[in-house]
């Protein structure tokens, strides 16, 4: 069982949807699919006012496309940097010539809403803010609601871009209520789909700020949004993967988003209760419910990971960079529910007991 915080196992009902007969992408069947997807994505983002679209690529490709589409060289942009992925947006921002104001914390920590708001207040000429809602590399999260609400109330000209790659569909997220301008989510996390596609929501303001475009610019959201409004797509679309989104989003609607979010929450709670009982600790003081990054004192984490994988067929993710070997990461998304967490807790318990003997 794959319990990495993305990719997550794809349930049978989604695989079956993906295996539907191939259709041609110019015609009424595809148009109906796209129209439904746009509405279902509005539900996922909780953005009735948002324009939504899909593109081919990973979460990284998606967030970079959003940055490229919304900002221009020399724009001053505040970017939280509290792990491997949010650090990428800082690097990419510099690469595309943005005047990046990073808000940096140690990996595992979360920048507080107050620190983000204070820094933003020092830069009256800020063009935008990029917030990674959940940092998949550390399991930490930031309070997007508080930051967004406070910022946009006084400074509506700020473009607020949220990397929701591993948060949207797993954690409460309200595009409209929180005044978000652009949000990105990837297929292989809470959506339980194969990797390869990303979805976007854009406010009317974000749409008005999109970089002028040319038909042949695969990184510019302008084309995707313009054609999505016509229930079309600028390239040959990955229709089979879109069927997977359709199935996942129908499932979300059927169960309701609050129930899906609650399942992640219950999974996280079950795991963390067991973890505490075993003397382990979470890395993040402000943890997201999408995943847990955790450690045990005086343990060889790679050995635990190897044992779980080889003896029990359970795959947890390790960590990168300075955290390598020091933590393990477990998903709470999709099939990784509370019951599965109890099983993993039992196995970890057994391993600890065996070591004591």
């Amino acid at each position: 069982m794959l319990l990495s915080p993305g990719p997550v196992p794809v349930p049978d009902f989604i695989m079956q949807a993906i295996c539907a007969p191939v259709i041609h992408h110019r015609g009424p069947v595809f148009e109906t699919l796209m129209e439904g997807l746009r509405r279902d994505l509005q539900y996922l983002f909780q953005g009735e006012s948002a324009a939504t679209c899909l593109m081919m690529g990973s979460g990284t490709v998606g967030v970079e496309a959003a940055m490229y589409s919304l900002f221009q060289p020399a724009d001053r942009v505040l970017i939280v940097n509290y792990g491997k992925f949010s650090e990428r947006w800082v690097d990419f921002g510099k690469l595309m010539g943005l005047d990046v104001i990073p808000i940096q914390t140690a990996w595992g920590q979360s920048p507080s809403a107050a620190s983000v708001l204070e820094t933003a207040a020092r830069y009256p000429d800020l063009s935008g803010v990029i917030l990674t809602h959940c940092e998949t590399s550390t399991g930490a999260m930031i309070d997007v609601e508080e930051i967004a609400f406070a910022l946009k109330q006084t400074r509506p000209e700020l473009l607020l871009l949220v990397d929701g790659v591993s948060s949207i569909g797993a954690l409460p997220f309200y595009f409209d209520e929180w005044n978000i301008d652009c949000a990105v989510v990837a297929s292989q996390k809470a959506l339980m789909n194969p990797a390869g596609t990303v979805a976007f929501a854009l406010s009317a303001y974000a749409q008005s700020r999109l970089r002028p475009t040319h038909p042949s610019d695969a990184r510019n959201l302008h084309n995707y949004l313009r054609l999505a409004q016509q229930n079309s797509f600028p390239y040959t679309p990955p229709v089979q993967l879109f069927y997977g989104w359709q199935a996942a989003l129908a499932h979300f609607r059927r169960r309701s988003l609050p129930e899906i979010w609650n399942q992640c929450h219950q999974s996280a709670r079950a795991f963390r209760t067991r973890l505490e009982g075993l003397g382990g600790a979470l890395l993040a003081p402000v943890p997201a419910d999408s995943l847990s990054a955790f450690s045990f004192p005086q343990q060889d984490h790679e050995a635990i990971r190897k044992n779980l994988h080889e003896q029990h067929g359970i795959f947890l993710a390790g960590a990168q960079g300075a955290l390598k070997g020091k933590i393990l990461r477990i998903s709470h998304m999709g099939a990784a529910n509370a019951a599965v967490m109890e099983q993993v807790g039992d196995l970890l318990h057994e391993m600890m007991e065996r070591q004591k003997r």
Copy 2:
């Protein structure tokens, strides 16, 4: 039955491969998959000397990524322009600041090897040549072998980029023997896979000419190739789609490429024999075996298309631009074999007979 020249129906054995359990993409299982894919792609391209890789995107995204990676603004590049897709490369070349020398023919016609070679001879400072092997919008093809062989023998400094989106895997193609520098193929044509991925082969010379890169440049082949050599991928890879490539390429190896090419050829021959018998005509004087673009005198082609679709569940593609309503296009790839062409021939025959009465 979908008989458009891409996307084509995905056979069951490929769908089943795609439905394999999700794996994590950092680890030995993925590395083994990538290593095998690189070798199988060398076979597909007939490029033992080539470095191969995959990326997410459509054929258009792939060809544009290759152009972006291999050429710099102000480079003088000769581009054949004989249909909707090759015209795109002219447009994109201008967008990226290339000094484009187009070789234009009417849609349906093919630039002769002699005309390409003569034009190339007039520009001693040419950086490269972009050849669309098969123009999917018209069914026409060009003699890549003759052009490439003649050009590279006297001017090895020329970068030869081949758009093989709808030719590689359907028509004889020999990357090494023909001295190609970069070739691109898409998943949803001869490879019988869902849309969403493209594959590349690059010569050592093309690799040496790649644009210097930064880790965060989703359009630069440099990253994909560098990581492919390590059996890795620069982003979360679309592993399920890679399984589909693996299945298709294993099938190609088992049956052998010449036999796969011959199946397309037999399909094209069967259809064209029937077409002639019915008084129809091919659009292209130099047709590719990947598809046939055809017409009947004094016929309403959209009515034929609609009848085939609604009465018989057979989907043919129409045409775009100035050809709209004037031709139909039928695939000879994958399941669209000679037996299927006989069935379509029978249906067209019946339709013609019914009209006469």
